[in-house]
Symmetry: C3
Subunit: 336 residues, 3 copies
């Protein structure tokens, strides 16, 4: 196993050098979509910066960097097992925290202080939740980010010092707009935005960069990300989801993650695991729609909770879809 | 143990014949109230059809059939352990999904597609949740139905394609009507409706059929179902619960299930286990009232969640109420 | 270990005498703040009575006594391991139930009946939840009180027989008042009220009595309770929390408990564990603010849930902050 784990895309990853740290940080960005690959992470970061600056919210990009650095360094300070750090597993929740805070909250000093605390928190919450889930042979995935960010977003509503201008107001019913006429170009943009929204970015160019980044690391992951966003988009239109949510890619990001997880990470590629992943995408779509209503009274976003919940529901039965489960599966479990 | 498990009410249950499949389907209906008995399941189905047609909602009955068949076949397709299928354990969550969807949702094509997906989902979610709970020596009971149906009912609020005409609007306070004057005949009807509502049926005749079905399989189960509904009804009137909820039997169904579970399934009959079951009924009543308020802002129903939560609270301490716990208990755990 | 556990503050604790029972009851009160010490519990009770009578709500004090006695006797009736009873571990959830019910609910006969049932319930729910959490090497702490009381407070909203005059109305946004000008005496009172609110008492004198009670048992616990309330108060003012909540000590009680737990119970005192506890206090502050918004739509209080959640997040990673974890830690786990 050691050979297969000795990734060659960044030989310096384990070194105590600035290059080694940079490599671990970039891998942390890649791990949001399960890619232990620095080049993939670099393309993700470029996508984040492009989308954030294009959208007039540069704080999102710098938040991502701060969250990534803080959470990665926290793992070192707490002396967690260093092999996890080498693979970028300390940083992926932190980078998402860093994207989420400036997306929803006003850029005050108190907000940045809270961002730093929350990003650091995700690192040991991940260790804790993985301990909880270890007997069930599942992993906390991005749920540490979801849990910690939910708590801080809710707290922002109760604290004057952290304004929350971009959280929708708590409401008992979702604001609902029917999708009007749309062109094929619209469809293409919505599909790519579904991929971009994994990092809370609302830009089709970013989505394209993310797909390229995935392909650099693993072409199957890129393919399944594309399938996940496309199938969810079709279902959203057929089942009549809110048009504005569809147009911002908000029905796509969770199915993208479920697709990558089920088809390429936890199960060996096969016809049966492909069917399983397609079912997973469909269920994630409904879970996303349902959780949108569940969080509406609290005025927060679902974040990637629908992906976590749906994927757990497909992993917990411990079904064997192939002769063996994906060999990396057990391995991934042991490591994560 | 094998002898005692070799039920004789349906010798064909394990055979790969249409009769065998029918037998497994009927047992699946019976397992909603923990009865591994085809005749009991048949009487339950008759009760469902009577109540659905009488109430002008035949789709509920046909939904039950569809949900039952889909979830049972899913267990076969996934190659889950066949002894579970022989005892009807793949079908009981699916039949409840099939009752719930047409009860709350409009009968569109998309709704039926969602029903099929949700019924299938319950089969492997049950396997997954049982894996989660195995270390605690408890069982997911009807919670797979609750969890999956909650997600889809919430999703229906966000999707034009699945209208939800019979879900109450999300609200911060329950609509509250005091119980007016009532006769002994009213009491009798409300008491029987409490049993019928286990399958979401609002008919006292159905409640009577369910009690007969239980008695065919296990007279103690019938007795405790009757006690559960009666005690909960008394408490609802004494503590001043909403009159309309009481009159539709909505305070009865969860205590009915708790009573059967604690008094006849998980503990050997004795004076102490009877007291334990009575306490369980009382606590379930309060949990039902509390969860009514908990789900109100989301505009969904509690389903059988109060039964699951309250019963778990009585099983988790692993108290021994007798010389031994109910022998079928361990056995039931191993199998479920 | 036996020697160190043989507390000498009350030699009669294990005796089947009225004095022994009294000792176990007082220890139960002390265990709310992790103190297995009858004198500490006595000072807590005096504080409760002072605050309740001073505040014109004597029912709170008598509720505390009833809840304490009922939950302690329930442990005996259920024949739970008697060493737990000797250390007061049956009573600490019950005494909190007894404080909470008359604080929020009207003093009707039905309320007192519900109080008795709920207090008894906490005893076996604690056993059950500890069974659930044992594999993760954490403990349910005051969560049995939180869970059971939440269910009954919610139920009170649905039941005429249990009026809930002092629960705030369900709302989508918190009523929010900015803190006006305040003096140093105000700060002092708010700081002490933060300690008093552990038992839902709104009196600075009670807070002082609680600190004295803690000091009698363990000066470190008193010190950390003081630090916890002070740091949370500072953060609440700096981050701009609701002024009325701050002035009633409502941001203090959860951090007080987190501070005692992390700095004196679960980790051996050291510089590293002190930093860990300070981080825990800060995170608890945000969790308290966030959960205030989470429970607002249901019109219930957070109770001590923020303490439980935040402390679990700091215990679950099983970090070793010292050469060894606190020796009492393992011990405490084994016993609780």
């Amino acid at each position: 196993m050691k050979q297969s784990n000795a990734r060659t895309e960044c030989p310096a990853a384990q070194a105590e050098t600035p290059v080694g740290l940079l490599c671990r940080l970039l891998r942390g960005t890649g791990q949001v979509m399960f890619q232990n690959n620095a080049w993939c992470g670099l393309l993700f970061l470029i996508g984040i910066f492009w989308g954030a600056y294009q959208g007039g919210t540069p704080a999102v990009a710098w938040g991502a960097v701060v969250g990534l650095v803080v959470s990665t360094c926290t793992g070192r300070l707490l002396e967690l097992p260093s092999n996890e750090g080498d693979e970028g597993l300390w940083g992926f929740n932190g980078v998402l925290v860093g994207c989420a805070f400036p997306t929803f909250l006003g850029s005050t000093g108190w907000m940045w202080l809270a961002l730093v605390l929350c990003a650091a928190l995700t690192t040991w919450v991940r260790t804790g939740l993985n301990n909880v889930m270890a007997p069930w042979k599942i992993n906390s995935m991005t749920f540490p980010f979801v849990l910690c960010t939910w708590l801080f977003l809710l707290a922002a509503r109760a604290l004057h010092g952290i304004p929350a201008p971009n959280l929708s107001a708590p409401a008992l019913t979702e604001t609902f707009s029917t999708a009007g006429l749309f062109s094929f170009a619209d469809l293409l943009a919505w599909w790519l935005k579904g991929v971009a929204q994994v990092f809370l970015i609302d830009s089709w160019v970013t989505g394209l960069l993310f797909l390229v980044g995935l392909a650099v690391s693993n072409w199957r992951a890129a393919l399944w990300a594309a399938i996940g966003s496309a199938l969810a988009l079709c279902m959203a239109l057929l089942f009549g989801a809110s048009g504005s949510a569809v147009a911002h890619g908000l029905y796509g990001f969770s199915p993208v993650l479920t697709a990558i997880a089920l088809a390429t990470v936890f199960y060996r590629p096969s016809l049966r695991s492909a069917v399983w992943a397609l079912l997973g995408i469909a269920v994630t779509f409904f879970v996303q729609a349902g959780m949108n209503m569940l969080v509406a009274p609290f005025g927060i976003a679902t974040l990637t909770a629908p992906f976590c919940l749906a994927t757990w529901l497909f992993l917990l039965p411990l079904l064997r879809l192939d002769d063996n489960r994906h060999p990396d599966h057990t391995d991934w479990h042991n490591k994560h």
